[in-house]
Symmetry: C2
Subunit: 336 residues, 2 copies
């Protein structure tokens, strides 16, 4: 009797302790996509593996709006719109000028359709003349209180749970994660720190021209209304080269306006004409998030299907939010 | 007898074990300057100290040429000149055009006098049309074999020993060190990694315009002859704000052309008109390296004394290479 009890006890203990290491990606549905990610991370970080990559070269880049959190609408547009509404009484000319007129009349509907360039231009104008410190403070205060119009959650609650797991899994395996945003770098920084624990200097984004000038004997840095760099399309690849100085081995973007295609292609292609060891073949993984879940998030695509076509042509992994993600947000009920 | 032996033994053991922690800055001569650095690092990194700064805000920025290694001449100019000489037979027009004519005729003498803008323009033209991967490979090969014309040492041997100690001491106390160079970001990256162990994405520098284009079905990134950003003067402060997103608490530059003044002032001044906590008063240290040692390195200054005047007016610490550094290079004989 005692022996049987002991065996039973051992069986219970083993069921608890002998199980495999905990799944690092529980919000991802088991399947070939999830397995491909796990295999890739294992292969590049296991010394001796033919695909082993030194930690210094384990660079991963992520788009943010639509890849790390929802973009229909994105935080930058809502923030700019709030400020435009406040300033509008002092700017009667906006009632005629585009894109201000469209933004003020259509509000959220405008943000659904507008491209990144127009939305960033709104933000640039809405905050022109602010000091950088005051602007960052405005953005922080806004993000602290703003609620997403549909989900009625604060923006830090809107991080995609599967992406949070992926970034943590990469970090635990020696990867250095960067955000490469088409939106305002300052807003992306605040959200990246609050949602994904990514430090500000690992965020690349769009910026306005700033000036450093003497005002009453003090140096002051102010924002102008002029766009300095709009970080989309090929510019994302060029900015990664200029800012990080090496090609990423993992790149993640989303289907929306084709603006991540160049970044994903750049992370994949070897510049074979170059004798540079970094220019040679290296293992890589490219992931494209597809917004196909109108119930839990949104369903939208591209008219020309450019991102999905590029994924098919280049062997990128396509993630269906509907089928590949058990859970999208951490505030959702635990899935069955 | 036994007790006395025991006491003697204890005294010897204590002389070995009870001494203070080893000096983190042995290449710095003891004195008020060295003590100011040690006190500052201790105060900002000791929880409970009135000057305590959270690790995330312990940002330090360093100029490189003349601050981390010699700049008369600097590596970027010598590298550009080598390539110009190779290309010169194919460019007879350079015999008339400035600054090419001056550089090819005066060689090293030209580099002694030229400003950063002209030298970077030489580099931009000398390597226009190269892919980024091939250019980096060129630079790496050149730095692997080039010898400094006076010291006859490879460039990685030319790191200033006191600065290597300072960067290590900062890193050990939770600081994040960045290089902010007026020279080519790619060359600064290779040297920063080889001499100071600083990763490429922590280096900010001057860059040329690059393009991403399809060539025979492959994406290729090429350099143009056009300067994209010359990272000097106020641009250094603006680049720090844009790249790091917060003001450093420690900034180090050198007397040469006044090009670090804005960076040091920016790191010091609180934007008091702003409600941003990061805009308020914070402890800070600004260090200006003065090249006054013609025997061990070089002696040069500014005609208008602008950097030293700014140091006096703002209470910056001035480092005399001659008097404050026991040793400049690690290849020097151990000082008496």
């Amino acid at each position: 009797m005692f022996t049987r009890l002991l065996l039973l006890f051992a069986a219970i203990a083993c069921a608890t302790l002998c199980q495999a290491a905990p799944d690092p990606l529980p919000a991802w549905r088991d399947g070939p996509g999830k397995q491909r990610i796990l295999d890739f991370v294992r292969d590049v970080s296991t010394p001796g593996s033919p695909d082993y990559v030194t930690p210094a070269a384990r660079i991963a880049v992520f788009d943010d709006d639509g890849t790390l959190w929802p973009e229909k609408p994105g935080p930058q547009g809502l923030f700019a719109l709030d400020r435009l509404r406040t300033l509008a009484p002092r700017h009667p000319e906006w009632r005629q000028q585009m894109p201000f007129r469209a933004a003020l009349e259509l509000q959220g509907k405008y943000l659904q359709e507008a491209d990144d360039a127009s939305v960033f231009q709104l933000l640039a104008v809405a905050h022109a003349g602010r000091t950088q410190a005051a602007f960052r403070n405005d953005a922080r205060e806004w993000l602290d209180t703003a609620r997403h119009p549909r989900f009625q959650q604060g923006w830090t609650q809107l991080a995609y749970a599967p992406m949070r797991e992926l970034l943590n899994h990469l970090r635990a395996n020696g990867f250095h994660n960067f955000i490469v945003s088409a939106g305002s770098v300052e807003i992306a920084r605040i959200l990246a720190a609050g949602t994904y624990g990514i430090p500000g200097d690992d965020v690349i984004g769009s910026s306005v021209v700033t000036t450093l000038r003497e005002e009453d004997g003090k140096l002051v840095m102010r924002r102008l209304a002029t766009v300095h760099a709009l970080n989309e399309g090929a510019v994302k690849a060029l900015a990664i080269d200029q800012r990080i100085g090496q090609r990423p081995i993992l790149a993640v973007g989303n289907v929306s306006s084709g603006s991540d295609i160049d970044m994903l292609r750049y992370s994949q292609l070897a510049e074979t004409q170059s004798p540079d060891p970094q220019g040679g073949r290296q293992p890589g993984l490219q992931i494209l998030i597809n917004h196909d879940d109108f119930e839990r998030e949104y369903a939208y695509g591209e008219k020309d299907r450019a991102s999905l076509n590029a994924a098919d042509a280049n062997g990128w992994m396509i993630v269906s939010m509907r089928y590949d993600w058990r859970r999208i947000f951490s505030f959702e009920a635990e899935p069955q």
